[in-house]
Amino acid sequence: MQTETQTMLSHSISAMLDKHQPSDRLREGLAATNLWGALVELGLAGAEIPEAFGGLGLSFTDIAPMFEDLGRGLATTCYLEFAVMGTWLLHASDNLVAHGLLAGAATGDTRAVLTFSEFGSAGDPAFARTSATATAAGWSLNGAKSVVVGGSLATHLLVPAMQDGKLALFLVPADAPGVTRHSLQLYDASSAADITLDNACVAASHLLARGEQASALITLALDRARAALCHEAVGLMAAVHDLTLDYVKSRKQFGQPIGAFQTMQHRLATMFMDLELCRSAADVATSAAQHSATPQQRMQAVSAAMVTLCQCARNIGQSAVQAHGGIALTREYQAGHYFKRLTMIERYLGTGDDHLERYIALAS
């Protein structure tokens, strides 16, 4: 059951997306259209920042469901990276420098991204190889961060690095000396950057957290993002399910709509169930991200949701293509673009294999 806030947000997003139909954006080339600006205009850049810092003071539970609308509209926004992870971390870190950035974050001018992945770290900052060493002026960072979504648009980087054998989290201005960004475009139309840190120097005050505290912060940021991702997936799945349903009702073969064939009906019924299960997974993950009694409970619940999400995203995406036939694989038609985004979501914040493993590790 939706709260009033959730309903209101959902309406704003839908209205905004009406102006930016996926079909239009497909024509222009999806990549050209990052809707971050549109979300900023709606005042959502600082949705979760307390009002005292210029934000809206909403809770995660308030904003998570709007990802379903974003998914349905196939919107590329970096909202997950800039707001759910970046801005939230700036606030949650309890660091003066970071808090000083919140006013800019609330207007969308400051955009911080968590650079959680390195080549070979399996997306898990605990396996970061980037290192931080103390200097007279503060810290010097060395390492490489991989395929950071939003990385080329960010003004600040939140960099997990090993310091004295322990994980620590640093705030690094994107234009700091020693930071090099190499932009790359991704198949789902988001833009990313490979980032190298070559003696990148920041002041001592830019250490946001270290040890247990750093791990806890980063893990929570990622789990929140995972919950939001589940909601986005629900929207994507619902949209591609609708597309497929319409298609099988109108497309004829052997003298009847292909939706009249029982195996096609069962395929669509299975897609429907996958969608419903993913809806439940989104509930589980969001509730856990907001309310869980312990981090362990939260992580288990989120990983349960992610295992489900990955499975359902894969089934629905592949099924939609199979039901459509060749047309779903053409650039002109929408279904294939949903399929691509679902394929990325299935891997972006841990694969199903990764999350099953985390779930098991937490159970024993």
Partner: protein, 395 residues
Amino acid sequence: MAFDYSPQDLQFADDVRAFIQANLDAGVRKKILSGMLPTRSEREKWQKSLYARGWAAPSWPVEFGGTGWTVVQRHIFDEVLTEEGAPGFPVFGMSMLAPVLMRFGTERQKREILPAILTMDDFWCQGFSEPGAGSDLAGVRSTARLEDGFWIINGQKIWTTLAHEANKIFVLVRTSVAEKKQLGLSILLLAMDTPGITVRPIITIDNHHEVNEVFFDDVRVPAENIIGEEGLGWTYAKFLLGHERTSIARIGQSRRELKRLIATASTIPWRDGMVSQAPWFKRRHAQIEIRHRILEATTLRLLAMVAEGGKPGSEANLLKIHGSEVQQDLAELWMDVVGEYGFAYGQDAIADIGEMVPWEANYVAGSYFNSRKLSIYGGSNEIQRNIIAKSALGL
């Protein structure tokens, strides 16, 4: 328990649990946890203790003896009963026949039949399926013709659960010939000791006797023993089968099994450690547990919808499909947990080697075979998918 229950709900769950622990016979509990069936008298004793507490029929309206609980309380009650190994309610009378009578029955039928269901003085079975009419009830060929104020019933029913323990039966029969196969059916009520009724056991491959064939040979029953109008039996049957659909996923039972599995697996050796440490066990258990958890959230989502006056649609079919598969996966994992002893045939067949072999081993194969019925009965999982395609998707 799980998810977003209120403190009151959790207190209620504790009360129910305490009641069960105080009132349920330990032998019956163990029997049920092992997948065996309680006897009729064991069921009746338990039902009477619920009756004494005022909990005999939580799904009924208060005027007929219901509890007035919220849907969430009713869900919790079912779940705790299941977790604790209490006998199930007598579903055929309580959850199928009774709602139909409350809606379509005569005042006299309500007055005479419902109280005996509450106390289980009457134990009802259901005569619907026939050799040629399983998932397709319109194929019913048993007949009843009206003669001198009596229905004369002839025909055969199959898969009649517990017909050998029941003292009453409601049967779907053809009372008139109609163009459309769905018309001309009626539901009649009769006592099992009416002359002309023969019950023949069907023994299943797990060597259990739970279902039967029931033969009707010129069986006479007064004309008034019909539900509602002659010829509308199909409508009543659909109404009757549509009840109690959110409980169909058996969330409580699967949770119980998930816990028992872990507990047992940690007592059984496997190579140099215990089964509970084996990678295959951990992976498969986690996969089932995750699926169960998401299914539970789905159930609660539906309950919330019902509580706000909504009507779940095809989500109930989803619960049937995934709920049955979760139970089947559990039954399969049990087989591998007890290893070579999973194949021992018959109760207590196993020699107690060093007292290591768990008593569950005597039952796991039977439970596994029996679990296959879960995707067949109550509308096979194929039928469930047909329904989703038709009613939710318009295909």
